[in-house]
Symmetry: C2
Subunit: 104 residues, 2 copies
DNA sequence: AGGCTTTCTCTAGAATGTCTAGAGAAATGC
DNA sequence: GCATTTCTCTAGACATTCTAGAGAAAGCCT
């Protein structure tokens, strides 16, 4: 995992709709074609952090499999934060790309 | 800074030629158009780490400004490592990009 | 009924890498 | 003689991720 990107990825995934933690990891793994795998010891602290910051909100509900799970959704603040983090990612990833393209 | 990319950036910069630590930070800042700034408290531990791993080698020499500095250069092992890290970066950055493009 | 697998949440502690905030030293210019 | 520039280096704090677990409830199988 690229350190520092997990928060952004979670926020982005939640633009696809309300989702519980386990579902978020599934989605990230699926869309990234198994390149990105979030282990639970990283996910839950991240979710806690994001909720603490007011970027996501949670509520317990039943899943399709009839189990209780905490469903997360993006808040308005979270959307703004996502925009900020996307911009920052573009800037940084772009700069890294320029370095990698650097030639003598 | 994107955590985990510093080693790769340093290795890549050294493909441009032998350089001392301070010069490396200058180059990174210059090529990235000031987007990437390496502070010294990150750089020197990184250089130590890279030399420890055998990816770079160092020797003291005089600079253009007539000062003593430690000049670093890429080793053969370092070139291989750089190739590995570049691949990994492409994979990861690509996957992050796919997530960011994900739509409902 | 009992046991197994799947789905789901959660936590403590270690490991890693970066940042903050310094110190220090030598060369040059004023 | 003093300030600035160039350059190296370190200790300790900090944030995030990883390792390595525990736990619980639903559904399936025998």
């Amino acid at each position: 995992m690229l350190q520092g990107t997990l928060d952004m990825l979670v926020l982005q995934i939640l633009t696809l709709g309300r989702m519980h933690g386990w579902g978020i990891t599934q989605r990230i793994e699926q869309i990234s074609e198994s390149v990105l795998r979030v282990n639970q010891g990283s996910l839950y602290p991240a979710l806690y952090r994001l909720e603490e910051a007011g970027w996501i909100a949670s509520e317990w509900d039943a899943t399709e499999n009839n189990r209780q799970a905490k469903f997360y959704s993006l808040t308005a603040k979270g959307k703004k934060q996502l925009a900020t983090e996307r911009e920052s990612w573009e800037r940084l990833a772009g700069a890294v790309g320029r370095i990698l393209d650097a030639e003598v």
